[in-house]
Protein backbone atom coordinates (compact mmCIF):
# COMPACT_ATOMS: atom_id res chain seq x y z
CA UNK A 1 0.00 0.00 0.00
CA UNK A 2 2.47 2.64 -1.19
CA UNK A 3 -0.28 5.23 -1.60
CA UNK A 4 -1.36 5.01 2.04
CA UNK A 5 1.16 7.47 3.54
CA UNK A 6 0.29 10.12 0.99
CA UNK A 7 -3.43 9.93 1.89
CA UNK A 8 -2.49 10.51 5.52
CA UNK A 9 -0.18 13.39 4.58
CA UNK A 10 -2.80 15.01 2.38
CA UNK A 11 -5.36 14.74 5.18
CA UNK A 12 -2.91 16.15 7.69
CA UNK A 13 -2.70 19.29 5.56
CA UNK A 14 -6.29 20.06 6.67
CA UNK A 15 -5.47 20.00 10.40
CA UNK A 16 -6.30 23.25 12.15
CA UNK A 17 -7.91 24.98 9.16
CA UNK A 18 -11.57 25.86 9.86
CA UNK A 19 -14.06 24.91 7.16
CA UNK A 20 -16.68 27.33 5.87
CA UNK A 21 -19.29 28.30 8.51
CA UNK A 22 -22.76 26.84 8.05
CA UNK A 23 -25.87 28.35 9.60
CA UNK A 24 -29.29 26.87 10.28
CA UNK A 25 -32.39 27.81 12.24
CA UNK A 26 -33.64 25.37 14.90
CA UNK A 27 -37.12 24.47 13.66
CA UNK A 28 -39.83 22.92 15.84
CA UNK A 29 -40.69 20.40 13.11
CA UNK A 30 -37.09 19.22 12.81
CA UNK A 31 -36.82 18.91 16.58
CA UNK A 32 -40.01 16.82 16.60
CA UNK A 33 -38.76 14.50 13.84
CA UNK A 34 -35.44 14.12 15.66
CA UNK A 35 -36.94 13.35 19.08
CA UNK A 36 -39.38 10.87 17.47
CA UNK A 37 -36.46 9.20 15.68
CA UNK A 38 -34.45 8.76 18.89
CA UNK A 39 -37.59 7.86 20.88
CA UNK A 40 -37.18 10.58 23.52
CA UNK A 41 -40.52 12.17 24.42
CA UNK A 42 -39.31 14.41 27.27
CA UNK A 43 -41.57 17.50 27.03
CA UNK A 44 -38.72 20.03 27.26
CA UNK A 45 -37.50 18.84 23.82
CA UNK A 46 -40.58 20.39 22.17
CA UNK A 47 -38.79 23.76 22.42
CA UNK A 48 -35.20 22.92 23.38
CA UNK A 49 -32.58 20.79 21.64
CA UNK A 50 -31.92 17.39 23.28
CA UNK A 51 -28.22 16.54 23.91
CA UNK A 52 -27.26 15.24 20.46
CA UNK A 53 -29.52 17.37 18.23
CA UNK A 54 -26.77 19.69 16.96
CA UNK A 55 -25.34 16.91 14.79
CA UNK A 56 -28.58 17.07 12.80
CA UNK A 57 -28.27 20.83 12.35
CA UNK A 58 -24.66 20.72 11.13
CA UNK A 59 -22.62 17.51 11.03
CA UNK A 60 -19.61 17.21 13.29
CA UNK A 61 -17.51 15.69 10.49
CA UNK A 62 -16.77 17.25 7.12
CA UNK A 63 -16.71 15.28 3.87
CA UNK A 64 -13.08 14.63 2.94
CA UNK A 65 -13.02 12.83 -0.42
CA UNK A 66 -9.34 11.86 -0.14
CA UNK A 67 -10.10 9.89 3.05
CA UNK A 68 -12.18 7.48 0.96
CA UNK A 69 -9.04 6.32 -0.85
CA UNK A 70 -8.13 4.65 2.45
CA UNK A 71 -9.79 1.34 3.40
CA UNK A 72 -13.32 0.48 2.35
CA UNK A 73 -15.66 1.96 4.90
CA UNK A 74 -16.29 4.48 7.66
CA UNK A 75 -16.89 3.78 11.32
CA UNK A 76 -17.70 6.24 14.06
CA UNK A 77 -15.17 5.83 16.87
CA UNK A 78 -16.68 8.20 19.38
CA UNK A 79 -18.23 11.58 20.14
CA UNK A 80 -17.86 14.25 22.77
CA UNK A 81 -20.41 16.95 23.54
CA UNK A 82 -19.81 20.04 25.68
CA UNK A 83 -22.61 22.48 26.40
CA UNK A 84 -22.35 26.15 27.33
CA UNK A 85 -25.93 27.33 26.74
CA UNK A 86 -29.25 25.71 25.83
CA UNK A 87 -30.29 25.76 22.16
CA UNK A 88 -33.94 26.62 21.56
CA UNK A 89 -36.46 26.66 18.73
CA UNK A 90 -35.94 29.78 16.65
CA UNK A 91 -32.23 30.11 17.39
CA UNK A 92 -29.94 30.61 14.42
CA UNK A 93 -26.92 28.40 14.97
CA UNK A 94 -23.64 28.78 13.08
CA UNK A 95 -21.29 25.82 13.03
CA UNK A 96 -17.57 26.04 12.27
CA UNK A 97 -15.71 22.76 12.01
CA UNK A 98 -12.12 21.71 11.56
CA UNK A 99 -9.95 18.63 11.54
CA UNK A 100 -7.87 18.57 14.73
CA UNK A 101 -5.89 15.37 14.27
CA UNK A 102 -5.18 12.60 11.72
CA UNK A 103 -3.31 9.40 12.55
CA UNK A 104 -2.99 5.73 11.64
CA UNK A 105 -3.17 2.78 14.02
CA UNK A 106 -2.69 -0.94 13.57
CA UNK A 107 -5.97 -2.81 14.07
CA UNK A 108 -6.81 -6.51 14.41
CA UNK A 109 -7.65 -6.75 10.69
CA UNK A 110 -5.32 -4.21 9.10
CA UNK A 111 -4.47 -0.59 9.63
CA UNK A 112 -7.02 2.05 10.56
CA UNK A 113 -7.10 5.75 9.80
CA UNK A 114 -8.41 8.08 12.51
CA UNK A 115 -9.65 11.58 11.73
CA UNK A 116 -10.64 13.75 14.69
CA UNK A 117 -13.10 16.55 13.94
CA UNK A 118 -14.13 19.40 16.20
CA UNK A 119 -17.09 21.68 15.55
CA UNK A 120 -18.02 24.79 17.50
CA UNK A 121 -21.62 25.99 17.46
CA UNK A 122 -22.51 29.66 18.01
CA UNK A 123 -25.90 31.32 18.58
CA UNK A 124 -27.19 34.55 17.02
CA UNK A 125 -25.47 36.58 19.75
CA UNK A 126 -22.10 35.14 18.74
CA UNK A 127 -21.80 33.10 21.95
CA UNK A 128 -20.55 29.54 21.74
CA UNK A 129 -23.37 27.19 22.79
CA UNK A 130 -21.63 23.86 22.29
CA UNK A 131 -18.46 22.17 21.14
CA UNK A 132 -18.58 18.71 19.60
CA UNK A 133 -15.84 16.29 18.77
CA UNK A 134 -16.07 13.23 16.55
CA UNK A 135 -13.65 10.42 15.77
CA UNK A 136 -14.15 9.11 12.24
CA UNK A 137 -12.38 5.87 11.35
CA UNK A 138 -11.57 4.49 7.89
CA UNK A 139 -11.03 0.72 7.81
Amino acid sequence: MTETPSVVDRLRAHVGTPGPPSSAVVEAGHLKRFTEAIGDSYPRWLTEAPPTFLVALAPVSAHLPEAEEYGKGWLNGGNRFEYMEPVKVGDTITAIGKVVDVYEKAGASGSLLFIIFETEYFNGHGRMVARLRGTAIRR
Binding site: A37, I38, D40, G73, G78, R80, F81, E82, Y83, R133
Partner: protein, 130 residues
Protein backbone atom coordinates in the same frame (compact mmCIF):
# COMPACT_ATOMS: atom_id res chain seq x y z
CA UNK B 1 -28.59 17.75 46.43
CA UNK B 2 -28.37 14.18 47.64
CA UNK B 3 -26.24 12.52 44.99
CA UNK B 4 -23.85 9.85 46.21
CA UNK B 5 -21.00 8.11 44.40
CA UNK B 6 -22.11 4.60 43.48
CA UNK B 7 -25.73 5.60 42.93
CA UNK B 8 -27.03 3.91 39.79
CA UNK B 9 -29.25 5.61 37.24
CA UNK B 10 -32.50 3.85 36.32
CA UNK B 11 -31.84 1.69 33.22
CA UNK B 12 -33.16 2.91 29.89
CA UNK B 13 -33.94 0.01 27.57
CA UNK B 14 -34.34 0.82 23.89
CA UNK B 15 -35.73 -1.47 21.20
CA UNK B 16 -34.17 -0.20 17.96
CA UNK B 17 -35.67 -1.43 14.69
CA UNK B 18 -34.56 -1.08 11.06
CA UNK B 19 -37.44 1.38 10.71
CA UNK B 20 -35.96 3.50 13.49
CA UNK B 21 -32.57 3.52 11.74
CA UNK B 22 -34.22 4.88 8.59
CA UNK B 23 -36.13 7.43 10.67
CA UNK B 24 -32.91 8.48 12.40
CA UNK B 25 -30.97 8.64 9.10
CA UNK B 26 -33.57 11.10 7.84
CA UNK B 27 -33.75 13.18 11.02
CA UNK B 28 -29.98 13.48 11.33
CA UNK B 29 -29.25 13.63 7.61
CA UNK B 30 -26.76 10.73 7.76
CA UNK B 31 -27.47 8.56 4.72
CA UNK B 32 -24.47 6.24 4.96
CA UNK B 33 -25.82 2.95 3.56
CA UNK B 34 -24.51 0.74 6.41
CA UNK B 35 -27.55 1.88 8.42
CA UNK B 36 -30.30 0.75 6.00
CA UNK B 37 -28.89 -1.30 3.07
CA UNK B 38 -28.20 -4.91 4.17
CA UNK B 39 -26.18 -5.83 1.05
CA UNK B 40 -24.04 -2.72 1.29
CA UNK B 41 -23.42 -3.29 5.03
CA UNK B 42 -22.29 -6.89 4.37
CA UNK B 43 -20.06 -5.74 1.49
CA UNK B 44 -17.99 -3.69 3.95
CA UNK B 45 -17.64 -6.59 6.39
CA UNK B 46 -20.50 -5.84 8.78
CA UNK B 47 -23.03 -8.45 9.99
CA UNK B 48 -25.84 -6.41 8.40
CA UNK B 49 -27.17 -2.92 9.02
CA UNK B 50 -25.95 -1.43 12.29
CA UNK B 51 -27.08 1.31 14.64
CA UNK B 52 -25.64 4.79 14.09
CA UNK B 53 -23.09 5.55 16.79
CA UNK B 54 -24.81 8.87 17.26
CA UNK B 55 -28.15 7.10 17.83
CA UNK B 56 -26.52 5.19 20.69
CA UNK B 57 -25.13 8.52 21.94
CA UNK B 58 -28.68 9.93 21.82
CA UNK B 59 -29.90 6.95 23.90
CA UNK B 60 -27.17 7.58 26.49
CA UNK B 61 -27.94 11.30 26.52
CA UNK B 62 -31.56 10.41 27.25
CA UNK B 63 -30.47 8.04 30.03
CA UNK B 64 -28.86 11.00 31.79
CA UNK B 65 -31.49 13.67 31.06
CA UNK B 66 -34.39 11.34 32.03
CA UNK B 67 -32.69 10.73 35.38
CA UNK B 68 -31.74 14.40 35.83
CA UNK B 69 -35.15 15.82 34.91
CA UNK B 70 -35.38 19.48 35.95
CA UNK B 71 -32.94 19.01 38.86
CA UNK B 72 -29.88 20.09 36.92
CA UNK B 73 -28.07 20.42 33.59
CA UNK B 74 -26.02 18.08 31.45
CA UNK B 75 -22.69 19.92 30.98
CA UNK B 76 -20.80 17.42 28.84
CA UNK B 77 -20.68 13.81 27.80
CA UNK B 78 -18.33 11.63 25.84
CA UNK B 79 -18.80 8.17 24.34
CA UNK B 80 -16.62 5.60 22.56
CA UNK B 81 -18.19 3.03 20.28
CA UNK B 82 -16.51 -0.28 21.07
CA UNK B 83 -18.73 -2.65 19.13
CA UNK B 84 -21.47 -2.68 16.53
CA UNK B 85 -25.13 -3.17 17.42
CA UNK B 86 -27.84 -4.47 15.16
CA UNK B 87 -31.56 -3.62 15.12
CA UNK B 88 -34.02 -6.14 16.56
CA UNK B 89 -32.12 -6.54 19.81
CA UNK B 90 -32.77 -4.56 22.99
CA UNK B 91 -30.16 -1.97 23.88
CA UNK B 92 -29.74 -1.38 27.61
CA UNK B 93 -28.36 1.99 28.71
CA UNK B 94 -26.89 2.16 32.19
CA UNK B 95 -25.02 4.62 34.35
CA UNK B 96 -23.74 5.35 37.82
CA UNK B 97 -22.29 8.26 39.74
CA UNK B 98 -18.51 8.04 40.11
CA UNK B 99 -17.81 11.26 42.02
CA UNK B 100 -19.54 14.31 43.44
CA UNK B 101 -17.90 17.70 43.97
CA UNK B 102 -20.02 20.65 45.04
CA UNK B 103 -22.92 20.95 42.58
CA UNK B 104 -21.18 18.78 40.00
CA UNK B 105 -21.28 15.03 39.57
CA UNK B 106 -19.33 12.77 37.24
CA UNK B 107 -21.05 9.73 35.81
CA UNK B 108 -19.95 6.58 34.08
CA UNK B 109 -22.39 5.66 31.31
CA UNK B 110 -22.54 2.68 28.99
CA UNK B 111 -24.74 0.73 26.60
CA UNK B 112 -25.02 -3.04 26.67
CA UNK B 113 -26.13 -5.56 24.07
CA UNK B 114 -28.21 -8.59 25.20
CA UNK B 115 -24.99 -10.57 25.83
CA UNK B 116 -23.82 -7.94 28.30
CA UNK B 117 -21.07 -6.53 26.04
CA UNK B 118 -20.45 -2.86 26.72
CA UNK B 119 -20.58 -1.74 23.08
CA UNK B 120 -20.64 1.96 24.01
CA UNK B 121 -18.76 3.36 27.00
CA UNK B 122 -18.41 6.89 28.25
CA UNK B 123 -18.65 9.56 30.91
CA UNK B 124 -20.91 12.51 31.63
CA UNK B 125 -20.75 15.61 33.83
CA UNK B 126 -23.90 17.10 35.32
CA UNK B 127 -24.44 20.25 37.37
CA UNK B 128 -27.26 20.22 39.89
CA UNK B 129 -29.37 23.34 40.51
CA UNK B 130 -28.60 25.02 43.79
Amino acid sequence: MNLQPGEELPDLIKHPTTRQLVQYAGAQGDFYEIHYDQDFARSVGLPGVILHGLLKAAFLGQLVTDWLGERGTLKSFEVSYRGVDVPGKPYRCRGKITSVSGQRAELEIWGEDPDGNHTTVGTATVEMNS
